[in-house]
Symmetry: C2
DNA sequence: CATTGTGAACGGGTTCACAGCA
DNA sequence: TGCTGTGAACCCGTTCACAATG
């Protein structure tokens, strides 16, 4: 099965498969099936088999999948067999929490740059990082070659900072600002806004 | 057009419409069209019109939509014409950041309860809240009648705490733990995991 | 015999295109 | 003329069902 343009929605599920499989490995499970994996994730077995079939044949009929092998395959597909450097832009409460978060490292990511435009914060330490002036974003991003940014600035600044990041060579942005970002084709944006999810849920409550 | 079972995916877009409209209002825009709104959100005009048509006829042909009126309609549909109380479970770095976050109030939410099981933290203040013992979740949730919880505990505890919350009467959970939660039918779970989104993006990078 | 991989059938969400109307 | 609301057409992702196989 060729890899020609796998639907994005399929790609989006692979990290969840990977997460569940790594949990299984932790529990000492060495072999699993599409059924078992699906039950853990609330996804149908057929869906999982179909998704995986876009990339190859990873299972054995009658047996299922080797947890270890499937983890390796998914990590390769998702380009996770390396450490990805992140830039953190905006060190308010949320940015600080992300900077201190311990969970990035063993899932393939580490923050190597932190920016803020508040003179009070510039030069201060946050974890092992030194907060740098947002004005230096262009040169520092270029120097370090970081490709992914996490954006935790106020909504009013988000688009301007985004333009700056893109100009500096950033290729993917995880946007925490409550605003839709406009970017050139080829730049990837994912949006995280907890309040949108809360407002989605309240529709069903009364 | 009747309101019989609107697709969930449609409901999920309404908060985004609302957000963009509130931004427009801030900018002094009083009238808009499905085209303009769509361009701001990266959504097609037809999609917006079709989505809104599930709930009524809110526009005027040739003119478009009154920003103010559409905001009111969306707020009513999403049950946002009231303040929703939230319980925060787990006051680590992320939980603390959420507790301090100023953006909830003017979008219809406020945190009224905070729990942790760390004796060091119980009794401490976080913003205007006092951190309470997780052991008291059942009685406190019942007393206060809070219906929505934000879960920011370690993955290992998440399912157990979830069972406790559901038992106590919580009807919706915003889950920050990197694990799929199993809940009874009728309980709403939304999942936020930034690393899943990062891993989604790295597929397209190299 | 359990479970995969997959073509085919299905279903439902999105887009199209246009009548209707201010 | 400009834009809405909507049935119909289209498209695409999910599910079904089964041949293949260790």
């Amino acid at each position: 099965m060729a890899e020609q343009s796998v639907p994005d929605i399929v790609i989006g599920r692979l990290p969840r498969y990977l997460q569940a499989l790594e949990r299984m490995r932790l529990e000492g499970i060495t072999t699993t099936s599409s059924l078992e994996l699906g039950q853990r994730l609330g996804i149908s077995a057929a869906q999982i088999r179909k998704d995986l079939s876009h990339f190859g044949e990873f299972g054995k009929q009658g047996t299922g999948y080797s947890v270890e092998f499937l983890i390796e395959q998914l990590r390769a597909i998702l380009n996770l067999n390396r450490m990805w450097d992140l830039a953190l832009v905006g060190v308010g409460d949320l940015g600080s929490a992300l900077a201190r978060y311990q969970g990035f490292t063993n899932r393939g990511f580490r923050i190597v740059l932190a920016f803020d435009n508040d003179p009070q914060k510039i030069g201060k330490r946050i974890g092992h990082l030194v907060i740098e002036d947002s004005a230096t974003i262009p040169e520092r991003i270029r120097q370090t070659g970081v490709k992914i940014a996490m954006l935790t600035v106020p909504a009013a600044e988000a688009q301007k900072v985004t333009d700056c990041l893109v100009e500096a060579g950033i290729r993917a942005i995880l946007n925490y600002a409550p605003i839709h970002l406009v970017v050139p084709p080829g730049i990837i944006v994912e949006h995280i806004d907890p309040i949108l999810k809360l407002q989605h849920m309240t529709y069903y409550l009364d």
